[in-house]
Subunit: 332 residues, 2 copies
Protein backbone atom coordinates (compact mmCIF):
# COMPACT_ATOMS: atom_id res chain seq x y z
CA UNK A 1 0.00 0.00 0.00
CA UNK A 2 1.38 3.37 -1.04
CA UNK A 3 0.17 6.84 -0.13
CA UNK A 4 0.40 9.61 -2.72
CA UNK A 5 -0.44 13.32 -2.54
CA UNK A 6 -1.86 14.88 -5.70
CA UNK A 7 -2.92 18.43 -6.56
CA UNK A 8 -6.68 18.43 -6.09
CA UNK A 9 -7.36 22.03 -7.11
CA UNK A 10 -5.31 25.08 -8.03
CA UNK A 11 -5.14 27.28 -4.92
CA UNK A 12 -6.86 30.64 -5.04
CA UNK A 13 -4.98 32.93 -2.69
CA UNK A 14 -3.44 31.07 0.21
CA UNK A 15 -3.31 27.28 -0.34
CA UNK A 16 -5.86 25.26 1.64
CA UNK A 17 -5.89 21.63 2.69
CA UNK A 18 -8.62 20.83 0.17
CA UNK A 19 -6.21 21.79 -2.61
CA UNK A 20 -4.42 18.51 -1.86
CA UNK A 21 -5.75 14.97 -2.07
CA UNK A 22 -4.41 11.72 -0.63
CA UNK A 23 -4.61 8.67 -2.85
CA UNK A 24 -3.96 5.07 -1.92
CA UNK A 25 -2.21 3.03 -4.58
CA UNK A 26 -0.55 -0.35 -4.78
CA UNK A 27 3.10 -0.75 -3.90
CA UNK A 28 5.24 0.11 -6.95
CA UNK A 29 7.65 -2.49 -8.33
CA UNK A 30 11.09 -1.62 -9.59
CA UNK A 31 11.85 -3.04 -13.02
CA UNK A 32 15.16 -3.67 -14.75
CA UNK A 33 17.73 -1.02 -13.85
CA UNK A 34 15.36 0.61 -11.39
CA UNK A 35 15.41 1.15 -7.66
CA UNK A 36 12.52 1.13 -5.20
CA UNK A 37 12.81 3.93 -2.65
CA UNK A 38 11.14 4.85 0.60
CA UNK A 39 10.70 8.57 1.25
CA UNK A 40 12.52 9.79 4.39
CA UNK A 41 12.46 13.61 4.25
CA UNK A 42 10.33 15.93 2.14
CA UNK A 43 11.20 19.55 1.45
CA UNK A 44 8.36 22.05 1.36
CA UNK A 45 9.27 25.34 -0.30
CA UNK A 46 7.47 28.59 -1.09
CA UNK A 47 8.33 28.37 -4.80
CA UNK A 48 6.07 25.31 -5.11
CA UNK A 49 3.15 27.72 -4.83
CA UNK A 50 4.03 29.00 -8.32
CA UNK A 51 3.84 25.52 -9.78
CA UNK A 52 0.36 25.06 -8.35
CA UNK A 53 -0.93 27.90 -10.53
CA UNK A 54 -1.76 27.39 -14.16
CA UNK A 55 0.44 30.23 -15.38
CA UNK A 56 3.66 29.15 -17.01
CA UNK A 57 6.73 30.27 -15.16
CA UNK A 58 10.32 29.11 -15.13
CA UNK A 59 9.11 25.57 -14.55
CA UNK A 60 6.04 23.73 -15.72
CA UNK A 61 2.91 23.96 -13.57
CA UNK A 62 1.89 20.84 -11.65
CA UNK A 63 -0.96 19.00 -13.28
CA UNK A 64 -4.26 18.51 -11.53
CA UNK A 65 -4.75 15.03 -10.04
CA UNK A 66 -1.08 14.27 -10.51
CA UNK A 67 1.48 13.86 -7.72
CA UNK A 68 3.26 16.96 -6.51
CA UNK A 69 7.04 16.84 -6.47
CA UNK A 70 9.74 18.60 -4.48
CA UNK A 71 13.18 17.92 -3.09
CA UNK A 72 13.16 14.56 -1.28
CA UNK A 73 15.63 12.35 0.56
CA UNK A 74 14.76 8.70 0.04
CA UNK A 75 16.26 5.39 1.04
CA UNK A 76 16.90 2.71 -1.54
CA UNK A 77 15.10 -0.39 -0.30
CA UNK A 78 15.43 -2.57 -3.40
CA UNK A 79 17.81 -2.16 -6.29
CA UNK A 80 18.15 -3.49 -9.81
CA UNK A 81 20.60 -0.70 -10.56
CA UNK A 82 24.34 -1.28 -10.36
CA UNK A 83 25.00 2.30 -9.25
CA UNK A 84 22.64 2.32 -6.28
CA UNK A 85 22.67 -0.21 -3.44
CA UNK A 86 20.02 -1.13 -0.92
CA UNK A 87 20.54 1.17 2.07
CA UNK A 88 21.84 4.09 0.02
CA UNK A 89 20.24 7.45 0.68
CA UNK A 90 19.57 9.63 -2.33
CA UNK A 91 18.49 13.21 -2.90
CA UNK A 92 16.43 14.30 -5.89
CA UNK A 93 13.35 16.02 -7.23
CA UNK A 94 10.88 13.26 -6.39
CA UNK A 95 7.17 12.86 -5.94
CA UNK A 96 5.08 13.14 -2.79
CA UNK A 97 4.72 9.37 -2.42
CA UNK A 98 5.70 7.10 0.42
CA UNK A 99 7.34 4.74 -2.07
CA UNK A 100 8.47 5.32 -5.63
CA UNK A 101 10.71 3.84 -8.28
CA UNK A 102 13.40 5.53 -10.31
CA UNK A 103 16.00 4.72 -12.93
CA UNK A 104 18.45 6.59 -10.74
CA UNK A 105 18.73 9.45 -13.20
CA UNK A 106 19.22 12.84 -11.52
CA UNK A 107 19.56 11.22 -8.11
CA UNK A 108 22.52 12.12 -5.92
CA UNK A 109 23.82 9.78 -3.21
CA UNK A 110 24.06 11.60 0.12
CA UNK A 111 26.13 10.58 3.11
CA UNK A 112 24.45 10.62 6.55
CA UNK A 113 27.85 10.57 8.21
CA UNK A 114 28.84 13.93 6.76
CA UNK A 115 25.61 15.68 7.78
CA UNK A 116 22.13 14.72 8.95
CA UNK A 117 20.01 13.60 6.00
CA UNK A 118 17.66 16.58 6.20
CA UNK A 119 20.59 18.97 5.72
CA UNK A 120 20.80 17.80 2.11
CA UNK A 121 17.41 19.38 1.50
CA UNK A 122 18.47 22.64 3.13
CA UNK A 123 21.81 24.04 4.04
CA UNK A 124 23.73 21.56 1.84
CA UNK A 125 20.95 21.39 -0.75
CA UNK A 126 18.87 23.77 -2.80
CA UNK A 127 18.33 26.41 -0.14
CA UNK A 128 22.00 26.55 0.87
CA UNK A 129 23.04 26.75 -2.77
CA UNK A 130 20.46 29.45 -3.39
CA UNK A 131 21.81 31.52 -0.52
CA UNK A 132 25.44 31.05 -1.46
CA UNK A 133 25.20 31.48 -5.22
CA UNK A 134 22.62 34.29 -5.16
CA UNK A 135 24.69 36.24 -2.68
CA UNK A 136 28.08 35.70 -4.27
CA UNK A 137 27.18 35.69 -7.97
CA UNK A 138 24.79 38.64 -7.94
CA UNK A 139 25.46 40.39 -4.64
CA UNK A 140 29.25 40.19 -4.93
CA UNK A 141 29.68 41.21 -1.29
CA UNK A 142 32.76 43.12 -0.20
CA UNK A 143 34.02 43.35 3.38
CA UNK A 144 32.45 46.15 5.43
CA UNK A 145 29.44 46.38 3.14
CA UNK A 146 25.94 46.26 4.59
CA UNK A 147 23.75 43.28 3.67
CA UNK A 148 20.03 43.24 4.44
CA UNK A 149 18.17 39.92 4.23
CA UNK A 150 14.38 39.64 4.24
CA UNK A 151 12.72 36.40 5.24
CA UNK A 152 15.89 36.15 7.29
CA UNK A 153 14.71 33.33 9.53
CA UNK A 154 13.60 31.26 6.56
CA UNK A 155 15.56 28.45 4.95
CA UNK A 156 17.46 30.64 2.50
CA UNK A 157 17.59 33.77 4.64
CA UNK A 158 19.29 32.22 7.64
CA UNK A 159 22.07 30.84 5.44
CA UNK A 160 22.43 34.07 3.47
CA UNK A 161 22.96 36.15 6.58
CA UNK A 162 25.50 33.74 8.00
CA UNK A 163 27.45 33.74 4.74
CA UNK A 164 27.33 37.53 4.78
CA UNK A 165 28.99 37.47 8.19
CA UNK A 166 31.61 34.96 7.03
CA UNK A 167 32.40 37.33 4.15
CA UNK A 168 32.80 40.31 6.47
CA UNK A 169 29.54 42.20 5.96
CA UNK A 170 27.40 44.11 8.43
CA UNK A 171 24.27 41.92 8.33
CA UNK A 172 20.73 42.98 9.14
CA UNK A 173 17.85 40.50 9.07
CA UNK A 174 14.12 41.07 8.81
CA UNK A 175 11.76 38.47 10.28
CA UNK A 176 8.23 38.22 11.61
CA UNK A 177 8.50 37.42 15.33
CA UNK A 178 10.66 38.46 18.28
CA UNK A 179 11.71 34.83 18.75
CA UNK A 180 13.00 34.66 15.20
CA UNK A 181 14.83 37.96 15.63
CA UNK A 182 16.43 36.63 18.79
CA UNK A 183 17.66 33.52 16.99
CA UNK A 184 19.01 35.59 14.09
CA UNK A 185 21.29 37.42 16.49
CA UNK A 186 22.14 34.77 19.09
CA UNK A 187 22.40 31.69 16.91
CA UNK A 188 23.23 32.98 13.44
CA UNK A 189 25.32 36.01 14.36
CA UNK A 190 23.32 38.69 12.52
CA UNK A 191 24.32 42.17 13.69
CA UNK A 192 20.77 43.46 13.82
CA UNK A 193 17.29 42.01 13.42
CA UNK A 194 14.03 43.81 12.71
CA UNK A 195 10.59 42.38 13.48
CA UNK A 196 8.44 43.65 10.64
CA UNK A 197 5.27 42.85 12.54
CA UNK A 198 6.08 45.17 15.43
CA UNK A 199 8.19 47.77 13.65
CA UNK A 200 6.08 50.84 12.91
CA UNK A 201 8.20 52.00 10.01
CA UNK A 202 10.47 49.59 8.16
CA UNK A 203 12.11 52.40 6.26
CA UNK A 204 13.27 54.07 9.48
CA UNK A 205 14.10 50.79 11.17
CA UNK A 206 16.40 49.90 8.28
CA UNK A 207 17.96 53.37 8.33
CA UNK A 208 18.70 52.90 12.05
CA UNK A 209 20.10 49.39 11.62
CA UNK A 210 22.15 50.38 8.55
CA UNK A 211 23.96 53.60 9.41
CA UNK A 212 26.02 53.31 6.22
CA UNK A 213 23.03 52.53 3.99
CA UNK A 214 22.25 49.27 2.22
CA UNK A 215 24.77 47.89 -0.27
CA UNK A 216 23.18 44.49 -0.84
CA UNK A 217 19.58 43.46 -0.35
CA UNK A 218 18.82 39.75 -0.55
CA UNK A 219 15.06 39.72 -0.99
CA UNK A 220 12.96 36.66 -0.20
CA UNK A 221 9.66 38.40 0.41
CA UNK A 222 8.91 41.41 -1.82
CA UNK A 223 6.00 43.74 -1.05
CA UNK A 224 5.94 46.50 1.57
CA UNK A 225 8.96 45.20 3.44
CA UNK A 226 11.08 45.53 0.34
CA UNK A 227 9.74 49.03 -0.32
CA UNK A 228 11.06 50.01 3.10
CA UNK A 229 14.48 48.53 2.42
CA UNK A 230 14.89 49.86 -1.10
CA UNK A 231 14.58 53.53 -0.17
CA UNK A 232 17.76 53.00 1.87
CA UNK A 233 20.00 51.63 -0.86
CA UNK A 234 23.40 53.12 -1.65
CA UNK A 235 24.97 53.96 -4.97
CA UNK A 236 25.88 50.76 -6.82
CA UNK A 237 23.59 48.67 -4.59
CA UNK A 238 22.81 45.11 -5.67
CA UNK A 239 19.30 43.81 -5.08
CA UNK A 240 18.98 40.04 -5.35
CA UNK A 241 15.44 38.89 -6.08
CA UNK A 242 15.38 35.37 -4.71
CA UNK A 243 11.74 35.10 -3.71
CA UNK A 244 8.59 37.13 -3.21
CA UNK A 245 6.61 35.05 -0.72
CA UNK A 246 4.42 38.03 0.21
CA UNK A 247 3.14 38.08 -3.38
CA UNK A 248 2.71 34.39 -4.19
CA UNK A 249 -0.88 34.22 -2.98
CA UNK A 250 -1.94 37.50 -4.59
CA UNK A 251 -5.22 37.24 -6.47
CA UNK A 252 -4.77 40.52 -8.33
CA UNK A 253 -1.72 42.28 -9.80
CA UNK A 254 0.29 43.65 -6.87
CA UNK A 255 1.19 47.32 -7.18
CA UNK A 256 3.72 49.41 -5.34
CA UNK A 257 6.08 52.34 -5.69
CA UNK A 258 7.82 52.40 -9.05
CA UNK A 259 11.40 51.28 -8.65
CA UNK A 260 13.01 52.63 -11.79
CA UNK A 261 13.71 56.15 -10.43
CA UNK A 262 15.37 54.60 -7.37
CA UNK A 263 17.55 52.30 -9.45
CA UNK A 264 18.44 55.19 -11.74
CA UNK A 265 19.36 57.56 -8.91
CA UNK A 266 21.61 54.97 -7.30
CA UNK A 267 23.03 53.22 -10.38
CA UNK A 268 21.67 50.16 -8.68
CA UNK A 269 21.21 46.65 -9.99
CA UNK A 270 18.23 44.38 -9.35
CA UNK A 271 18.36 40.81 -10.56
CA UNK A 272 16.11 37.82 -10.30
CA UNK A 273 17.49 34.31 -10.43
CA UNK A 274 16.70 30.69 -9.96
CA UNK A 275 19.29 28.32 -8.71
CA UNK A 276 19.28 26.25 -11.88
CA UNK A 277 21.03 29.13 -13.66
CA UNK A 278 24.18 28.31 -11.71
CA UNK A 279 24.19 24.53 -12.06
CA UNK A 280 27.82 24.47 -13.16
CA UNK A 281 28.80 25.94 -9.81
CA UNK A 282 26.89 23.55 -7.53
CA UNK A 283 29.72 21.16 -6.84
CA UNK A 284 32.17 23.85 -5.81
CA UNK A 285 29.51 25.60 -3.72
CA UNK A 286 28.50 22.43 -1.85
CA UNK A 287 32.16 21.85 -1.04
CA UNK A 288 32.44 25.32 0.50
CA UNK A 289 29.17 25.03 2.41
CA UNK A 290 30.14 21.61 3.77
CA UNK A 291 33.49 22.85 5.02
CA UNK A 292 31.93 25.91 6.68
CA UNK A 293 29.39 23.63 8.34
CA UNK A 294 32.11 21.29 9.61
CA UNK A 295 34.17 24.19 10.90
CA UNK A 296 31.15 25.54 12.75
CA UNK A 297 31.20 28.80 10.81
CA UNK A 298 27.78 27.95 9.47
CA UNK A 299 25.02 26.78 11.81
CA UNK A 300 22.06 24.75 10.63
CA UNK A 301 18.51 25.13 11.87
CA UNK A 302 15.41 23.23 10.81
CA UNK A 303 11.75 23.02 11.58
CA UNK A 304 10.98 19.31 11.30
CA UNK A 305 7.38 18.22 10.99
CA UNK A 306 6.58 14.55 11.59
CA UNK A 307 4.64 12.34 9.21
CA UNK A 308 3.76 11.99 5.54
CA UNK A 309 0.19 13.14 6.20
CA UNK A 310 1.48 16.50 7.43
CA UNK A 311 3.12 17.51 4.16
CA UNK A 312 0.26 19.73 2.91
CA UNK A 313 -0.10 21.52 6.25
CA UNK A 314 3.65 22.05 6.53
CA UNK A 315 3.58 23.63 3.08
CA UNK A 316 0.63 25.85 4.00
CA UNK A 317 2.36 26.92 7.21
CA UNK A 318 5.23 28.43 5.22
CA UNK A 319 2.91 31.28 4.26
CA UNK A 320 2.26 32.04 7.92
CA UNK A 321 5.96 31.97 8.66
CA UNK A 322 5.56 29.05 11.07
CA UNK A 323 9.00 27.71 10.25
CA UNK A 324 12.35 28.89 11.51
CA UNK A 325 15.09 27.75 9.18
CA UNK A 326 14.37 25.00 6.70
CA UNK A 327 10.94 23.37 6.89
CA UNK A 328 11.14 19.61 6.26
CA UNK A 329 8.76 16.75 6.84
CA UNK A 330 10.18 13.54 8.26
CA UNK A 331 8.50 10.38 7.02
CA UNK A 332 8.65 7.48 9.51
CA UNK B 1 26.56 93.19 -21.12
CA UNK B 2 26.00 89.54 -20.31
CA UNK B 3 22.75 87.58 -20.08
CA UNK B 4 22.44 84.83 -17.47
CA UNK B 5 19.63 82.37 -16.71
CA UNK B 6 19.12 81.45 -13.04
CA UNK B 7 16.73 79.10 -11.30
CA UNK B 8 13.94 81.34 -10.06
CA UNK B 9 11.83 78.69 -8.33
CA UNK B 10 11.88 74.92 -7.98
CA UNK B 11 9.35 73.53 -10.47
CA UNK B 12 6.26 71.83 -9.12
CA UNK B 13 5.19 69.27 -11.68
CA UNK B 14 6.07 70.32 -15.21
CA UNK B 15 8.60 73.18 -15.34
CA UNK B 16 7.14 76.58 -16.28
CA UNK B 17 8.79 79.68 -17.73
CA UNK B 18 8.47 81.50 -14.41
CA UNK B 19 10.79 78.90 -12.86
CA UNK B 20 13.59 80.62 -14.80
CA UNK B 21 14.81 84.20 -14.55
CA UNK B 22 16.99 86.24 -16.91
CA UNK B 23 19.58 88.46 -15.28
CA UNK B 24 21.71 91.11 -16.94
CA UNK B 25 25.26 91.33 -15.65
CA UNK B 26 28.46 93.07 -16.67
CA UNK B 27 30.82 91.41 -19.14
CA UNK B 28 33.11 88.98 -17.27
CA UNK B 29 36.89 89.49 -17.46
CA UNK B 30 39.30 86.60 -17.75
CA UNK B 31 42.14 86.76 -15.22
CA UNK B 32 45.53 85.10 -15.24
CA UNK B 33 45.38 81.62 -16.75
CA UNK B 34 41.73 82.07 -17.69
CA UNK B 35 39.83 82.19 -20.93
CA UNK B 36 36.78 84.25 -21.85
CA UNK B 37 34.25 82.23 -23.82
CA UNK B 38 31.14 82.93 -25.84
CA UNK B 39 28.39 80.32 -25.66
CA UNK B 40 27.58 78.75 -29.05
CA UNK B 41 25.38 75.71 -28.36
CA UNK B 42 23.49 74.76 -25.20
CA UNK B 43 22.28 71.25 -24.45
CA UNK B 44 18.91 70.88 -22.74
CA UNK B 45 18.37 67.46 -21.20
CA UNK B 46 15.59 65.78 -19.22
CA UNK B 47 17.93 64.89 -16.34
CA UNK B 48 18.28 68.61 -15.52
CA UNK B 49 14.75 68.41 -14.14
CA UNK B 50 16.11 66.34 -11.25
CA UNK B 51 18.67 69.00 -10.37
CA UNK B 52 15.92 71.61 -10.18
CA UNK B 53 14.34 69.75 -7.26
CA UNK B 54 15.64 70.08 -3.77
CA UNK B 55 16.04 66.35 -3.22
CA UNK B 56 19.60 65.11 -3.37
CA UNK B 57 20.25 62.73 -6.19
CA UNK B 58 23.37 61.58 -7.94
CA UNK B 59 24.36 65.20 -8.45
CA UNK B 60 23.82 68.28 -6.32
CA UNK B 61 20.59 70.21 -6.85
CA UNK B 62 20.85 73.59 -8.56
CA UNK B 63 20.69 76.46 -6.13
CA UNK B 64 17.94 79.04 -6.29
CA UNK B 65 18.96 82.33 -7.91
CA UNK B 66 22.13 80.75 -9.21
CA UNK B 67 22.89 80.03 -12.89
CA UNK B 68 21.80 76.71 -14.29
CA UNK B 69 24.47 74.62 -15.99
CA UNK B 70 24.42 71.96 -18.69
CA UNK B 71 26.57 70.72 -21.55
CA UNK B 72 27.70 73.69 -23.61
CA UNK B 73 29.89 74.32 -26.65
CA UNK B 74 31.64 77.67 -26.36
CA UNK B 75 34.16 79.62 -28.39
CA UNK B 76 37.29 81.00 -26.77
CA UNK B 77 37.29 84.73 -27.54
CA UNK B 78 40.15 85.80 -25.27
CA UNK B 79 42.80 83.63 -23.69
CA UNK B 80 45.35 83.97 -20.89
CA UNK B 81 45.73 80.20 -20.91
CA UNK B 82 48.56 78.53 -22.81
CA UNK B 83 46.46 75.45 -23.56
CA UNK B 84 43.54 77.26 -25.16
CA UNK B 85 43.78 79.71 -28.04
CA UNK B 86 41.38 82.36 -29.27
CA UNK B 87 39.09 80.69 -31.81
CA UNK B 88 39.19 77.28 -30.12
CA UNK B 89 35.86 75.60 -29.52
CA UNK B 90 35.44 73.79 -26.22
CA UNK B 91 32.87 71.47 -24.71
CA UNK B 92 32.13 71.31 -21.01
CA UNK B 93 29.60 71.50 -18.21
CA UNK B 94 29.14 75.28 -18.27
CA UNK B 95 26.62 77.83 -17.10
CA UNK B 96 23.65 79.27 -18.95
CA UNK B 97 25.43 82.57 -19.67
CA UNK B 98 26.17 84.27 -22.96
CA UNK B 99 29.76 84.81 -21.83
CA UNK B 100 31.75 83.16 -19.06
CA UNK B 101 35.32 82.66 -17.91
CA UNK B 102 37.07 79.43 -17.05
CA UNK B 103 40.47 78.15 -15.97
CA UNK B 104 40.11 75.61 -18.74
CA UNK B 105 39.73 72.76 -16.26
CA UNK B 106 37.37 70.02 -17.45
CA UNK B 107 37.04 71.61 -20.87
CA UNK B 108 37.60 69.54 -23.97
CA UNK B 109 38.67 71.08 -27.30
CA UNK B 110 36.32 69.98 -30.08
CA UNK B 111 37.03 70.05 -33.79
CA UNK B 112 34.32 71.51 -36.07
CA UNK B 113 35.98 69.85 -39.06
CA UNK B 114 35.34 66.34 -37.71
CA UNK B 115 31.66 66.98 -36.94
CA UNK B 116 29.31 69.96 -36.60
CA UNK B 117 29.79 71.62 -33.20
CA UNK B 118 26.37 70.63 -31.91
CA UNK B 119 27.20 66.95 -32.43
CA UNK B 120 29.61 67.18 -29.50
CA UNK B 121 26.62 67.79 -27.23
CA UNK B 122 24.75 64.84 -28.67
CA UNK B 123 25.82 61.91 -30.74
CA UNK B 124 29.54 62.44 -29.99
CA UNK B 125 28.86 63.80 -26.51
CA UNK B 126 26.96 62.79 -23.42
CA UNK B 127 23.89 61.39 -25.16
CA UNK B 128 25.89 59.31 -27.64
CA UNK B 129 28.07 57.98 -24.84
CA UNK B 130 25.02 57.23 -22.75
CA UNK B 131 23.48 55.22 -25.56
CA UNK B 132 26.66 53.35 -26.41
CA UNK B 133 27.88 52.57 -22.91
CA UNK B 134 24.47 51.84 -21.41
CA UNK B 135 23.65 49.44 -24.23
CA UNK B 136 27.00 47.67 -24.38
CA UNK B 137 28.00 47.64 -20.70
CA UNK B 138 24.62 46.66 -19.24
CA UNK B 139 22.63 45.37 -22.20
CA UNK B 140 25.48 43.29 -23.65
CA UNK B 141 23.59 42.78 -26.91
CA UNK B 142 24.12 39.63 -28.94
CA UNK B 143 23.29 39.26 -32.62
CA UNK B 144 19.68 38.24 -33.33
CA UNK B 145 18.48 39.45 -29.94
CA UNK B 146 15.52 41.80 -29.71
CA UNK B 147 16.14 45.31 -28.38
CA UNK B 148 13.27 47.62 -27.45
CA UNK B 149 14.01 51.32 -26.95
CA UNK B 150 11.57 53.75 -25.33
CA UNK B 151 11.90 57.46 -25.98
CA UNK B 152 13.31 56.12 -29.22
CA UNK B 153 13.15 59.40 -31.13
CA UNK B 154 14.90 61.26 -28.29
CA UNK B 155 18.57 62.14 -28.14
CA UNK B 156 19.68 58.89 -26.47
CA UNK B 157 17.02 56.65 -27.97
CA UNK B 158 17.78 57.36 -31.61
CA UNK B 159 21.45 56.51 -31.08
CA UNK B 160 20.68 53.43 -29.00
CA UNK B 161 18.47 51.93 -31.68
CA UNK B 162 21.01 52.59 -34.42
CA UNK B 163 23.77 50.98 -32.37
CA UNK B 164 21.45 48.02 -31.78
CA UNK B 165 21.14 47.62 -35.56
CA UNK B 166 24.90 47.92 -36.06
CA UNK B 167 25.33 45.14 -33.49
CA UNK B 168 22.86 42.88 -35.28
CA UNK B 169 19.74 43.16 -33.11
CA UNK B 170 16.08 43.25 -34.09
CA UNK B 171 15.26 46.81 -32.96
CA UNK B 172 11.85 48.14 -31.96
CA UNK B 173 11.35 51.79 -31.01
CA UNK B 174 8.55 53.44 -29.06
CA UNK B 175 7.81 57.11 -29.71
CA UNK B 176 4.94 59.56 -29.38
CA UNK B 177 3.98 60.62 -32.92
CA UNK B 178 3.56 58.99 -36.32
CA UNK B 179 6.18 61.36 -37.74
CA UNK B 180 8.71 60.19 -35.19
CA UNK B 181 7.86 56.56 -35.87
CA UNK B 182 8.36 57.18 -39.57
CA UNK B 183 11.81 58.68 -38.97
CA UNK B 184 12.79 55.80 -36.69
CA UNK B 185 12.25 53.39 -39.54
CA UNK B 186 13.22 55.41 -42.60
CA UNK B 187 16.16 57.39 -41.25
CA UNK B 188 17.50 55.34 -38.33
CA UNK B 189 16.77 51.85 -39.63
CA UNK B 190 14.64 50.58 -36.73
CA UNK B 191 12.80 47.38 -37.69
CA UNK B 192 9.55 48.42 -36.05
CA UNK B 193 8.17 51.54 -34.41
CA UNK B 194 5.20 51.88 -32.06
CA UNK B 195 3.32 55.14 -31.45
CA UNK B 196 2.35 54.94 -27.79
CA UNK B 197 -0.19 57.71 -28.22
CA UNK B 198 -2.23 55.82 -30.79
CA UNK B 199 -1.50 52.25 -29.74
CA UNK B 200 -4.41 50.89 -27.72
CA UNK B 201 -2.37 48.30 -25.90
CA UNK B 202 1.40 48.65 -25.60
CA UNK B 203 1.71 45.13 -24.23
CA UNK B 204 0.14 43.63 -27.33
CA UNK B 205 1.89 46.04 -29.69
CA UNK B 206 5.24 44.98 -28.25
CA UNK B 207 4.26 41.31 -28.48
CA UNK B 208 3.42 41.80 -32.17
CA UNK B 209 6.61 43.73 -32.92
CA UNK B 210 8.79 41.29 -30.96
CA UNK B 211 7.79 37.78 -32.02
CA UNK B 212 10.77 36.35 -30.14
CA UNK B 213 10.14 38.38 -26.98
CA UNK B 214 12.27 41.16 -25.56
CA UNK B 215 15.89 40.43 -24.65
CA UNK B 216 17.01 43.99 -23.95
CA UNK B 217 14.93 46.96 -22.96
CA UNK B 218 16.65 50.35 -23.02
CA UNK B 219 14.28 52.48 -20.99
CA UNK B 220 14.27 56.26 -21.24
CA UNK B 221 10.73 56.89 -20.07
CA UNK B 222 9.44 54.58 -17.30
CA UNK B 223 5.75 54.52 -16.37
CA UNK B 224 2.96 52.75 -18.24
CA UNK B 225 4.96 52.32 -21.42
CA UNK B 226 7.59 50.34 -19.55
CA UNK B 227 4.93 48.24 -17.86
CA UNK B 228 3.78 47.20 -21.32
CA UNK B 229 7.28 46.29 -22.43
CA UNK B 230 8.33 44.45 -19.29
CA UNK B 231 5.58 41.84 -19.44
CA UNK B 232 7.17 40.73 -22.72
CA UNK B 233 10.70 40.10 -21.47
CA UNK B 234 12.52 36.83 -22.03
CA UNK B 235 14.57 34.74 -19.66
CA UNK B 236 17.85 36.51 -18.88
CA UNK B 237 16.52 39.83 -20.18
CA UNK B 238 18.52 42.98 -19.41
CA UNK B 239 16.60 46.13 -18.62
CA UNK B 240 18.68 49.30 -18.79
CA UNK B 241 17.23 52.16 -16.77
CA UNK B 242 18.64 55.23 -18.49
CA UNK B 243 15.87 57.69 -17.80
CA UNK B 244 12.31 57.97 -16.57
CA UNK B 245 11.07 61.14 -18.21
CA UNK B 246 7.43 60.19 -17.66
CA UNK B 247 8.09 60.34 -13.90
CA UNK B 248 10.29 63.41 -13.54
CA UNK B 249 7.41 65.82 -13.05
CA UNK B 250 5.46 63.57 -10.69
CA UNK B 251 4.19 65.40 -7.62
CA UNK B 252 3.39 62.23 -5.67
CA UNK B 253 5.10 58.83 -5.45
CA UNK B 254 4.41 57.00 -8.72
CA UNK B 255 3.02 53.52 -8.29
CA UNK B 256 2.77 50.65 -10.73
CA UNK B 257 2.83 46.88 -10.99
CA UNK B 258 5.46 45.33 -8.76
CA UNK B 259 8.40 44.20 -10.86
CA UNK B 260 10.10 41.73 -8.56
CA UNK B 261 7.94 38.71 -9.54
CA UNK B 262 8.64 39.45 -13.22
CA UNK B 263 12.40 39.72 -12.68
CA UNK B 264 12.32 36.53 -10.61
CA UNK B 265 10.34 34.54 -13.15
CA UNK B 266 12.69 35.54 -15.97
CA UNK B 267 16.01 35.65 -14.11
CA UNK B 268 16.12 39.15 -15.50
CA UNK B 269 18.42 42.03 -14.66
CA UNK B 270 17.41 45.66 -14.27
CA UNK B 271 20.09 48.26 -13.79
CA UNK B 272 20.17 52.01 -13.47
CA UNK B 273 23.22 53.99 -14.49
CA UNK B 274 24.57 57.43 -15.09
CA UNK B 275 27.18 58.01 -17.69
CA UNK B 276 29.77 59.20 -15.17
CA UNK B 277 30.07 55.61 -13.93
CA UNK B 278 31.85 54.74 -17.16
CA UNK B 279 34.22 57.71 -17.43
CA UNK B 280 37.22 55.46 -18.06
CA UNK B 281 35.57 54.22 -21.24
CA UNK B 282 34.65 57.60 -22.78
CA UNK B 283 37.69 57.96 -25.00
CA UNK B 284 37.35 54.55 -26.58
CA UNK B 285 33.59 55.01 -27.00
CA UNK B 286 33.93 58.41 -28.69
CA UNK B 287 36.42 56.89 -31.11
CA UNK B 288 33.93 54.17 -32.05
CA UNK B 289 31.01 56.59 -32.38
CA UNK B 290 33.08 58.97 -34.51
CA UNK B 291 34.11 56.24 -36.90
CA UNK B 292 30.54 54.94 -37.24
CA UNK B 293 29.38 58.49 -37.92
CA UNK B 294 32.07 58.99 -40.58
CA UNK B 295 31.24 55.66 -42.22
CA UNK B 296 27.57 56.61 -42.33
CA UNK B 297 26.55 53.67 -40.14
CA UNK B 298 25.29 56.13 -37.57
CA UNK B 299 23.04 59.03 -38.62
CA UNK B 300 22.70 62.20 -36.57
CA UNK B 301 19.49 64.12 -36.04
CA UNK B 302 18.94 67.30 -34.04
CA UNK B 303 16.19 69.71 -33.14
CA UNK B 304 17.95 73.09 -33.12
CA UNK B 305 16.25 76.01 -31.42
CA UNK B 306 17.56 79.49 -32.13
CA UNK B 307 18.54 82.04 -29.49
CA UNK B 308 19.75 82.24 -25.91
CA UNK B 309 16.35 83.49 -24.75
CA UNK B 310 14.74 80.24 -25.93
CA UNK B 311 16.73 77.98 -23.61
CA UNK B 312 14.01 77.64 -20.91
CA UNK B 313 11.27 76.96 -23.46
CA UNK B 314 13.42 74.39 -25.27
CA UNK B 315 13.96 72.64 -21.94
CA UNK B 316 10.24 72.71 -21.13
CA UNK B 317 9.41 71.35 -24.57
CA UNK B 318 11.38 68.17 -23.84
CA UNK B 319 8.55 67.08 -21.56
CA UNK B 320 6.07 67.41 -24.41
CA UNK B 321 8.32 65.44 -26.71
CA UNK B 322 8.69 68.38 -29.10
CA UNK B 323 12.20 67.32 -30.07
CA UNK B 324 13.25 64.63 -32.49
CA UNK B 325 16.82 63.62 -31.80
CA UNK B 326 19.00 65.85 -29.68
CA UNK B 327 17.50 69.17 -28.58
CA UNK B 328 20.10 71.97 -28.66
CA UNK B 329 19.87 75.73 -28.55
CA UNK B 330 22.08 77.73 -30.93
CA UNK B 331 23.30 81.01 -29.55
CA UNK B 332 23.99 83.62 -32.24
Amino acid sequence: MNKIIVLNSRPVGKPQKHDFKFIIDGMPINGDGEVLMKTRFVSVDPYLRGRMSEAKSYIQPFELNQPISSGIIAEVIESNNAKLAKGDFVSGMLQWKEYQVSTGENLLIVNPEVAPLSAYLGILGMTGLTAYLGLTEIGKPKREETLVVSGAAGAVGMVTGQIGKILGCHVVGIAGTDDKCEILKSKFGFDEAINYNTSKNIRKAIAMACPNGVDIYFDNVGGDISDGVLVNINKYARVIICGAISQYNATSMPVGPRLQPLLLKNSALMQGFIIGNYATKFQEAVKILTSWLKEGKLVNHETIVEGFDQIPQAFIDLFDGKNTGKMVVRVG
